[in-house]
């Protein structure tokens, strides 16, 4: 079973990747010595499918469990929900040796880890991501978040989990659209850092769309290792290293926002954002046509959108200028000079962004 270490000195932790490893959770937790009382934050769809299994895995090793269900919606990433869960947690706690398990996708992971980071100035948090997107991206790296009406992820902390357990068997029940949204982030890792992963996706995309275990395990462990490496070198996005993870996200977030967060989901918007960033890179003479075409073809093969439809460009541009990644009036893009060759460029002229959007 692949075990990937995130190296952050005293805050180091392991990412375990494998098929069927959920049933061994109790054993791993016992070794960590993080407490004996698990407070599991999850939603109904995940709990209905895997709650019993998780509960057994914990009870077998003597952990007490309490399941806290939050709505299955991005709306759960709200300060009000976090406050309500914390009150329940505090009422339940009463000096237990308590830790939190985030059992779900990105919304659950962001919410639960935020709660863990602010309850009693931080209690241990274990991530058990149940979507591909969460397994390859959001469960790793310690960015916690809830949304405000004024913008997504505006409230949060940097707070590392004590363990990430990615059971790829869980992905077998993932709806196709959710699988694809995760694959968008996998493509991103290939583009920014890993030519082998990129070629693998070009060859094996059908295996992935058919949820073949070996392929899932390969991409989850490969992407986890990439993210672990980047986070280990730039935990708090202070050195410009972690920034490359935002490839496709500058325009992607704007597309998501402009579409009211229901026209395109995260991965779909990121696919469009990657195409726009690829277009800008090509337009600025950084990227060859050939590489731009490879990227467009892979996104198409996976079945992710390649054309912005039903969202006005002007809305995307406006959303783009509200993004929290901008300080003052500067924009900042992660561009590419080839597969695994990134370049941060600031102050891209608006005309060039608009042109790239029109062509996407």
């Amino acid at each position: 079973m692949p075990v990937i270490k995130v190296n952050l000195k005293k805050r180091s932790y392991n990412i375990m990747v494998g098929a069927g490893i959920l049933s061994s959770l109790g054993k791993y937790l016992q070794k960590l010595g993080i407490g004996n009382s698990a407070y599991i934050i999850t939603n109904n769809p995940v709990n209905n499918k895997y709650g019993v299994k998780l509960n057994q895995a914990l009870k077998k090793y003597g952990f007490t469990t309490r399941f806290k269900i939050v709505p299955d919606s991005e709306k759960s990433k709200a300060l009000e929900i976090a406050a309500a869960v914390i009150k329940d947690l505090a009422s339940y706690d009463r000096n237990r040796r308590i830790f939190i398990i985030a059992f779900g996708g990105g919304v659950i992971g962001d919410l639960a880890s935020f709660i863990a980071s602010i309850y009693k100035r931080g209690i241990p948090c274990v991530q058990i991501p149940t979507t591909l997107l969460a397994q390859v991206d959001s469960a790793i790296g310690g960015k916690t978040a809830v949304d405000l009406a004024q913008g997504k992820n505006l409230v949060g902390t940097f707070y590392q989990p004590r363990l990430v357990l990615s059971d790829v068997s869980i992905l077998k029940t993932l709806p196709l659209r959710q699988l694809k949204t995760g694959l968008a982030e996998v493509i991103k890792y290939g583009i920014i850092q890993d030519p082998y992963l990129f070629s693998y996706l070009e060859k094996k995309y059908k295996d992935l769309l058919n949820l073949k275990t070996a392929s899932l395990e390969f991409i989850v462990s490969r992407c986890s290792a990439i993210k672990a490496g980047i986070v280990g070198r730039d935990e708090k996005e202070e050195k410009g290293i972690r920034t490359i993870l935002n490839f496709g996200h500058t325009i992607g977030h704007a597309v998501e926002a402009a579409g009211g967060y229901n026209k395109y989901n995260h991965g779909e918007a990121i696919a469009l954002g990657m195409l726009a960033a690829t277009g800008i890179s090509n337009r600025l003479g950084l990227l060859k046509n050939k590489d731009a075409l490879r990227i467009a073809n892979l996104i198409k093969k996976i079945g992710l959108p390649t054309k912005i439809q039903g969202v006005a460009y002007q809305k995307i541009i406006s959303a783009h200028y509200r993004d929290k990644k901008f300080i003052g009036i500067k924009n900042r893009f992660v561009l590419i000079k080839g597969i695994a060759k990134t370049k941060i460029v600031e102050n891209i002229p608006l005309e060039i962004i608009k042109e790239a959007l029109r062509k996407t």
Copy 2:
């Protein structure tokens, strides 16, 4: 002007102590380069007295300012208040280079720094403590907090400020009871770490009660240096070093809670807690009668309570066992073997605690 450095590598910062230094704030902030837009969290009493002065000090150096008033009450340390302020902050922000100023006592400091720590995963925070208690204790060290109905300070983070500016001139308008509550923490620093400070208090307590500038500056800078030293060695209370700051707080918190947080204020409860801890130390044969008497005499001279009145012992004992500092069923006390000689002792028998309470 005394400048004390808190050594925390990349998170190091200065504590500036002096009379009338508020008017130079803009200059100090400009050097720090932490932004150009100050979001000041304060309450009406502080704002009415010193708001204009703070505003001028900032405007003179080109900072934009926004004052956010929260109620002048411990009730402001609530998740709901934090959420409401964050929403106002996010609406106001719009990609400004924003930082927070905590302008008030401990409640404002804890609330404002908590907000700074979770907005956009952390924006710079400047502490301008306006009470003696905040200047010598809560503004330093990065413990942020809000209360829950289930207990005080149950939600919070470790998040260091970028600057602490303690203008002792502001203390001149402090009500006597508030001055004394701060002096309780000053006595604590003497007891746990500084025989010279302890003797100084024995000799100069009248100057302090008369708000003499030189004495105030001396104790604020001396206590700031002690706390800075302890925090620098044990930022997150993981090494048992920071623990000694809890001298008097184990019983003190219980007295505060048992009195419904209005019978005794923090410093008064801490004075009683220090007397109880002194009594336990003496009873266990750790501390000589002579030293126990010196402590009791100093507390009496300052005019802090020396006798628990109007709060049932049983209530104190119950509150004591609900304290968040207890993990599992163990209790843990900071005791003393003399002035500046602390000893952490766990599992003090209930009978000995009760006896000490009866004698306090």
